[in-house]
């Protein structure tokens, strides 16, 4: 029993160090936890027990749910054409190129190469949003359009992760039916439920959501799929319900960030073998360039078709090249299901970290839309669709 307390103390100490470092350097705690996890994993190999695996997996599911719940459905409806095109291209181009490069250039087997494709197909709504807040771009049409496209991109990633490695047996179809029914009934049922329990101190809303996500994750896992897929979809259909209930999201986020996601990101980092990364630094570079290149080749012409100016087009392309949470979730899925080796996992996680940092730095330094230029895109979008700024 004392070993359990010791293990917990070590992990929570790492989580606390990450929070304090995050506070000091102004970088998201998720990225710091990943890096602290990498340092700890290579320095003293903290024990990854079953209960840590559970907390980490649950953390990934809740984090995915929260990401889905941040969808602005109104924006998606208004800019559906642009966001659908940019989102789908943003997913398929790097997915296909990274898969191709990993399989035929790096010699990874088919399924491992597919994991590489999925892990590098991602973008990050949260990273993009944080960058845009600094410039006020999140309030403009172009900002909202990019964020909506990022949602579509990430939806492609979770669908690929949820479907590509499943066996399509009986349990898979049961999980599909359960998820579809949940997606259909949850918005109405949840609204009524939230009114009925009315923010009771015993947190019945949070427990209700946990139960739904756990049951759907169980069915997805039983069907050979991945729990993050129903979690993201449930988040999306409940996004409008939560629009008027930000306090509930805040309470869920507090629980998740305090107890669940630290285990997820620390564990994801601790499994990275730095020796393997150093030995494969060329592979890291190739995969990084594959993702960045594919995003550019796919998204730039799409942006040009929508008459984006060169600067805004490059900014959009770079923003959509970012990725963090879904990239690590995909890589960890591959490792835990023995689809990829630890060396391949280590390479993928480092590439994912690089894609969170490098494109945003370049975008902010050289391609940030300014003044009349960023307003111009709002006018163009309005002219084309007769829509006003959202």
């Amino acid at each position: 029993m004392e070993q359990l307390w010791w293990d917990a103390s070590v992990w929570v100490a790492l989580a606390l160090v990450s929070s304090l470092l995050s506070l000091r350097v102004g970088v998201s705690v998720a990225l710091v936890e990943l890096i602290v996890g990498i340092a700890a994993g290579n320095a003293f190999h903290p024990e990854v027990t079953d209960w840590i695996n559970f907390l980490a997996s649950f953390g990934a599911v809740i984090l995915t749910f929260l990401a889905g719940a941040e969808l602005e459905s109104r924006t998606l409806r208004r800019f559906w054409k642009e966001s659908l095109v940019l989102g789908l291209v943003g997913f398929f181009a790097p997915f296909a190129l990274a898969w191709f490069v990993a399989q035929f250039f790096l010699g990874w087997d088919l399924k491992a190469a597919q994991i590489a494709g999925i892990a590098l197909s991602t973008t990050s709504v949260a990273v993009v949003y944080a960058v845009m807040v600094e410039t006020g771009l999140n309030e403009t049409s172009v900002g909202k359009l990019i964020l909506a496209a990022c949602f579509v991109n990430d939806l492609g990633t979770v669908i690929a992760l949820g479907l590509l490695f499943t066996s399509f047996g009986r349990w898979f179809w049961i999980s599909v039916v359960a998820t579809v029914l949940a997606l259909f009934f949850l918005p109405g049922v949840t609204s009524r439920y939230l009114k009925r329990v009315n923010s009771h101190p015993s947190e019945p809303e949070v427990k209700y959501l946990y139960l739904i996500l756990l049951v759907l994750a169980y069915l997805a896992a039983k069907g050979g799929s991945e729990g993050v897929l129903p979690a993201y979809l449930v988040g999306m259909v409940l996004a409008d319900t939560f629009l008027g209930n930000r306090e509930l999201i805040k309470r869920m986020r507090a629980t998740t960030f305090a107890l669940l996601t630290p285990f997820y990101f620390l564990k994801a980092g601790s499994l990275v073998d730095l020796d393997a990364v150093i030995a494969s630094i060329g592979t890291v570079l190739i995969l990084f360039l594959s993702k960045s290149g594919a995003k550019f080749v796919g998204l730039y012409p799409a942006g040009a078709a929508f008459r984006f100016t060169a600067r805004i087009n490059l900014y959009t392309t770079l923003m959509m090249t970012t990725g963090l949470t879904f990239g690590t979730i995909s890589a960890l899925y591959g490792l835990s299901h023995r689809i990829i080796t630890q060396d391949q996992y280590s390479v993928l996680v480092v590439v994912v970290i690089l894609t969170a940092i490098v494109p945003t730095l370049i975008a902010q330094a050289f391609f940030e839309p300014k003044g009349a230029e960023r307003d111009a895109i709002a006018l163009e979008v309005r002219d084309k669709g007769g829509k006003s700024d959202v």
Partner: protein
């Protein structure tokens, strides 16, 4: 003389000292005065709500500080426009100064260790290097 002055203000000792100097300067030049506080938001965030919450916290924190500064200025017979923006301090100060077309940017100083200054870079250094207008650094 300077007609539009922007003071980067965070309520610290260095910033309060700079405020006193700006009061004297603004009276002398009959200048329009702007106060700017910069709230940090986490880079590479996990969720959108993480950024939103950081914004709310920073806004709450700096609103009180700015209110106190405005009250102090009123007692000195001056008025100021308040700005609370979010992002990296140096970039945000430079961006706001440009947007307002200020002709003087005023900063207080914080005592930093040599290591921290070297590793993280100082806001003051960056603002001096890239500002479009004159910069006054007030040393305490």
């Amino acid at each position: 003389m300077f007609k539009k002055i922007l003071l980067a203000y965070d309520g610290s000792e260095g910033a309060r000292f700079a405020l006193e100097k700006v009061v004297a300067l603004a009276k002398l030049a009959d200048a329009e005065l702007h106060l700017l506080a910069v709230g940090r938001i986490p880079e590479y965030a996990e969720t959108v709500s993480e950024t939103e919450e950081a914004k709310e916290q920073a806004k709450g924190y700096y609103s009180k500080i700015m209110d106190d500064a405005v009250t102090h200025l009123k007692q000195q017979g001056l008025a100021a426009k308040i700005h609370i923006e979010f992002g990296k301090p140096a970039d945000t100060i430079l961006r706001t100064a440009e947007a307002l077309s200020t002709d003087l940017l005023v900063l207080g100083t914080h005592p930093h260790s040599a290591v921290r200054r070297r590793v993280l870079g100082a806001t003051v250094d960056k603002v001096i290097d890239h500002a479009h207008c004159s910069v006054l650094v007030v040393r305490n």
